[in-house]
Amino acid sequence: MAGQLIDAAGKPTPAETAQAGRPISDGPLAVALDDIAISFAVKGRPVFNAVAPTSLHVNEGEFVAIVGPTGCGKSTLLNATAGLLAPAGGTVSIFGEPLVGLNARAGYLFQQDALMPWKTALDNVAIALEIGGMRRGEAVAQAQDWLKRVGLARFTERYPHELSGGQRKRVALAQMLIRQPKILLMDEPFGPLDAQTRQIMGTLLLRLWAQDRKAVLFVTHDLEEAIALSDRVVIMSAGPEARIIGDYPIDLARPRDAAEIRLDPRFHALHRMIWNQLKAEVAKTYGDDMDGVEATS
């Protein structure tokens, strides 16, 4: 099992090397969240302000990771960008246009299993194209190609329950990427996986992303994962009234291997720096109770 996964993930490709470096942002921002506030009205209780007015900008081709303690509203921010949730205040702009309804230019990778259990891996990926009106034959051919890219060429006819958690995530990744969305939204996508598989998936994600850089909003509670993958790490405070309390550029060279990069001295320096500042902020938000903080070093 492990051998096969490592094979599939492989080493960073030349494509990633060629496009390495910080993205240039001439055009409009891929994602612009301005003074976003998100509240939930629960019957019989005061309105819960999950996210206090906060702003976040993501350039085209930029990989931004949002880190924060569990339940701080990171996912809520992501759902607002996806259009799955309407913010109580502020504006969401996608490539300069205000977002109306669902974000058709975004692909979403969920933390939980989101594959249709009644479809095979192949059908789960092909359907993403078929609903756009593509002929079945062509959609299947492309889906096969994508499953190969995520290392599942031999598992196309399996149903989700016949795949491991990591393999299901690979199918979901192919399902999201096959539509070539301009923006990738990921909500702790590798959260349910074991540490080893998470790193392999991280490397795979970086490799696929490097081929055709999209704007990425990657939510995680794991600071190490955030640094290993992203161009920028954004820290959110604990909710309620969560807000962004830190924004750190990650100047690690690409291509990266999500596992090996953790041995890099610069990685440690960045991690120490962010955590030192984060610790104080998080302690403030939590008061004396530090138990809930998961982004520990």
Binding site: G107, F110, D113, P117, W118, A128, I131, P160
Partner: protein
């Protein structure tokens, strides 16, 4: 602990042999001048067997089997279609569901047998009164399962499908429908079983053909052999239908973990 298949089969047959032997001895060997199982009340296994053979050889049974099968299938189809349609409608329109909720509960709480005479009055003694009885049984099982199936669609799967760009029609086809069907198929055995119960009970209460009629006729003339023969055929009939349903179920629910593990 798992038995070897051959040993298991042997033990299963042994149970039948022992029961039949006790039945046979009780009915034919007097103990202290008295029969333990008087033939008048219990018949004899060999008599029952020869009656079953006779029914098949003479061909009279086929008509009755056919009628019962037709009623069962019709009740199942009509009840299922109704259940699916109404189930979907209620699940997608919570207001409708809320309005009808007390009435659905009320009708479902009613023992359906009491409806049989009404149906006979309305639809006559032919097959349709039995079909109607079966439909009232099948409908609610399918209805509740489809309703649940649509309601319990995983919100994540749904959000994912929406993000993929599915419109309402595509969501119906790719998400709601398969989910509802999986719930419905999981109750397939119960639904088909109830369709058969409706048919047989209906026949029993008043008809001119069918397995229920056969058993009822035999009972009417104290023909215990006939009653047992009818029961035996009915049981075998149910087993055949059940086997068929299992085949269909395994075919349709191949994507489900349980179905797959049963196949292996």
């Amino acid at each position: 602990m798992k038995l070897h298949p051959v040993k298991l089969l042997f033990l299963q047959i042994l149970v039948a042999v022992v029961v039949l032997a006790i039945w046979h001895i009780g009915a034919t060997v007097p103990i202290g001048g008295d029969y333990l199982l008087p033939e008048f009340f219990f018949s004899k296994p060999l008599d029952v067997l020869s009656r079953v053979v006779e029914l098949f050889v003479s061909g009279t049974i086929w008509k009755h089997l056919w009628i019962t099968l037709t009623e069962t299938v019709l009740a199942f189809i009509i009840g299922s279609v109704g259940g699916v349609v109404i189930g979907f409608w209620f699940a997608r329109k919570p207001v409708v569901a809320a309005v009808f909720d007390p009435y659905v509960k009320m009708v479902n709480a009613l023992p359906r047998v009491v409806l049989a005479p009404i149906f006979m009055l309305w639809l006559g003694l032919g097959i349709w009164s039995k079909v109607a009885l079966g439909v009232t049984l099948v409908f609610f099982i399918v209805f509740f399962n489809v309703y649940q199936g649509v309601k319990e669609v995983s919100p994540v799967v749904l959000a994912n499908a929406r993000m993929m760009g599915m419109n309402e029609r595509q969501l119906f086809r790719n998400v709601y429908w398969p989910s509802a069907m999986s719930w419905m198929f999981s109750s397939l055995h119960t639904a088909v079983g109830f369709a058969l119960v409706g048919a047989v009970v209906g026949e029993y209460l008043g008809s001119a053909a069918g397995l229920g009629y056969l058993i009822h006729q035999a009972e009417g003339v104290f023909d215990v052999t006939g009653v047992f023969a009818g029961m035996f055929i009915l049981a075998a009939f149910v087993l055949v239908i059940d086997w068929f349903v299992t085949r269909v179920e395994n075919r349709l629910l191949v994507w489900r973990p349980q179905a797959a593990s049963e196949q292996n």
